[in-house]
């Protein structure tokens, strides 16, 4: 693949001697929808922490974009501005503020204090907020305080905030956790649509949800890639069955 957007290769990181990530290599193309699965402690969240600059790896490289920029050594804010958006496992929206304010803050605009201080509301921005609210099904909730939203709505708002950033790569950590079946379907649709124009990486426990995403799957185990391919391909892999499905179904 020539349109590689993100290349992680040979990355290792350990916490107090425990190897959370062990010479991990993953390539993400643009556009692409990718699911990352794995048992607890497989290093899924740490993988996201490394890409977004929260955790510095002990070794390895993380290369981004056409110009092959290294993401290591960049701050979280710089990485976000380079085009990587992240959704946390627990829905983290600004609960004291309205849905509109949440989206407005995430909207791709100059991020410096002076620009923000002198920021004026424009019809163009308002239209973008409306469009995103429509996409995530929160059009009627724009004036509501985000803290009042249901769990599922908060998840969508956070996905909406990611979309508002207009990132080239979306990292989504367990978007379906705690959702009803209906909400899951809607979340799948949002992610699939987002992945038509950009790269979307979904970390998920739920096999049903991953099946519905219908995309390439990477199985992580003990900090490295165990298998990669279609869901049917990886689930028929004996090692995967042993370490993940076997244990999960035990």
């Amino acid at each position: 693949m020539n349109n590689t957007l993100l290349e992680v290769s040979g990355v290792s990181v350990s916490f107090d001697g425990f190897k959370a990530i062990n010479s991990l290599s993953i390539q993400i193309a643009e556009p692409e929808l990718r699911a990352i699965i794995g048992p607890n402690g497989a290093g899924k969240t740490t993988f996201m922490d490394i890409i977004t600059g929260k955790t510095k790896p002990d070794e390895g490289v993380v290369i981004w974009g056409e110009r092959n920029i290294s993401l290591l050594g960049m701050s979280e804010a710089d990485i976000a501005n380079a085009g990587i958006g992240r959704k946390f496992q627990k829905p983290t929206v600004f609960e004291a503020q309205t849905v509109r304010q949440n989206l407005a803050m995430a909207l791709k605009n100059p991020r410096g204090p002076l620009a923000v201080l002198l920021h004026r509301k424009t019809p163009a921005n308002a239209a973008r907020i409306e469009a995103i609210a429509e996409e995530i099904g929160l059009s009627d909730s724009l004036p509501r305080i985000a803290g009042e939203l249901s769990h599922g709505q908060k998840q969508w708002l956070e996905i909406g905030m990611l979309l508002a950033q207009e990132p080239r790569l979306l990292l989504v950590d367990e978007p379906a956790a705690g959702m009803t079946v209906e909400e899951r379907e809607k979340t799948t649709d949002i992610l699939k649509r987002a992945a038509q124009t950009r790269a979307v990486v979904v970390v998920e426990h739920d096999m049903e949800f991953v099946r519905r995403l219908n995309c390439k799957v990477t199985v992580l185990h003990e900090g490295s890639v165990l298998a990669e391919g279609s869901l049917d391909h990886v689930t028929s892999n004996p090692t995967v069955i042993e370490v993940y499905l076997g244990r999960g179904h035990a």
């Binding site: 991020r111 923000v116 201080l117």
Partner: protein
């Protein structure tokens, strides 16, 4: 833009209107106006209270909105006071020295005059040389600039070091406390160049206005303080509204999320910390000419803790709450500690409020924190918009 800003924040208009009414009432009642319903010392107390309200809204912005519990903002207040105090003291002493030397047959050289002024000011700490700190003390404009520049620069450097290292929460509070303690201890030294524990005094005498009565001067400062509070309120209300307010409150509620949205959190914190430090400095520069004296004890850590208590009692995250808290608690404090409150005789023990006021304040702080986390300002919210 201002139209939408005000229409989105009706409480700002209310505040300015009430402050205007209050200012008018005090002016009409003052001795300077002629009615004399309010004593000059009361006008001074009210003027000082307005300055405390100004630093309280600064504290509310940095703590209530941005989530940085600074326990050092009174240091900036004190620096503002010292900066203006240096000019007040220098210019007044110069006037006295010049008039006492003017009777002599041979005109004094500028060196002799300078020595005489130095002797007058620094005699109490056994010195007569002007320390480098006083280089601009003869220039009102430069000292006024210092009121803004010194707190701003200190906050900028301190904040840059602290925020860049991602010091947050209670560790940052302790650091700010250490900063104000260090400053206070340094000022206590006789060779600090600012007269050690004597501090600067006679600040209520404004050079150039020797003919004016204290009644006139205190009313002028009261009006100046009211204007500064109104402008400061408008400035802060504007800063914490709109997108800046969103980002700043986002930092308070979830710093990491703001970072992952692409905002450089350090820059925002530094902006808020420095801006509030500068406003605190201005508040101090208005306060101490009304107090008449400033000494290093003013910069003691306890002052900054009181500031946090005012804001907590008044209600964090709402500017009028900080004003209510600062005015209410500081006026109550001077009433209790000034012997205004009657002692309570229990028969076996007499409660003297000068001793027990702090206990009362401490208990109310605990109660507010436990039972009314939104403070007095929260009651307003409750009354104004009924919960839906």
């Amino acid at each position: 833009m201002h139209k939408t800003f005000i229409s989105q924040n009706p409480s700002v208009l209310w505040f300015i209107a009430l402050l205007g009414l209050f200012t008018l009432a005090v002016t009409v009642g003052s001795e300077a106006f002629g009615t004399g319903l309010i004593s000059t010392s009361m006008v001074k107390t009210l003027g000082k209270t307005l300055c405390l309200c100004l630093i309280a809204i600064a504290m509310d912005v940095v703590w209530g909105y941005c989530g940085i519990l600074s326990l050092g903002h009174f240091a900036f207040f004190g620096i503002g006071g010292y900066a203006i105090g240096m000019w007040l003291m220098y210019a007044r002493t110069e006037g006295i020295v010049l008039s006492s030397l003017s009777g002599q047959a041979i005109p004094s050289t500028s060196q002799e005059i300078s020595d005489a002024i130095g002797n007058q000011i620094f005699g109490v700490v056994g010195s007569s040389d002007f320390p480098w700190l006083w280089a601009f003390a003869d220039n009102l404009f430069l000292q006024l600039l210092m009121v803004i520049v010194v707190p701003g620069l200190l906050a900028l450097v301190f904040g840059w070091l602290a925020f860049r290292s991602r010091v947050t929460g209670v560790y940052l509070s302790i650091l700010t406390q250490a900063m104000t303690l260090a400053l206070s201890l340094w000022l206590f030294q006789n060779d600090s160049g600012l007269r050690g524990n004597n501090g600067l005094s006679g600040l209520q005498n404004i050079p150039g206005f020797e003919g004016s009565s204290q009644a006139d001067i205190s009313l002028a400062f009261f009006l100046g303080s009211a204007l500064a509070l109104a402008l400061g309120y408008l400035l802060f209300a504007w800063v914490v509204s709109g997108k800046m307010g969103s980002v700043v409150q986002g930092i308070r509620d979830n710093e990491a999320r703001v970072r992952f949205l692409g905002y450089r959190v350090e820059g925002y914190k530094l902006f808020i910390f420095t801006l509030t430090a500068v406003i605190s400095g201005i508040a101090g520069a208005l306060y101490y000419p009304q107090a008449g004296i400033i000494n290093p004890a003013e910069l003691a850590p306890i002052a900054s803790i009181y500031l946090a208590v005012w804001v907590a009692i008044g209600g964090r995250g709402r500017l009028y709450g900080a004003v209510i808290g600062a005015a209410f608690v500081s006026l109550l404090s001077s009433w209790f500690t000034g012997g205004g409150a009657p002692a309570i005789d229990l028969g076996f023990y007499t409660i003297l409020w000068t001793d027990w006021w702090l206990v009362l304040l401490g208990v109310s702080f605990v109660c507010v924190t436990l039972f009314f986390p939104k403070g007095i300002g929260g009651l307003f919210d409750y009354l104004v918009r009924k919960p839906s």
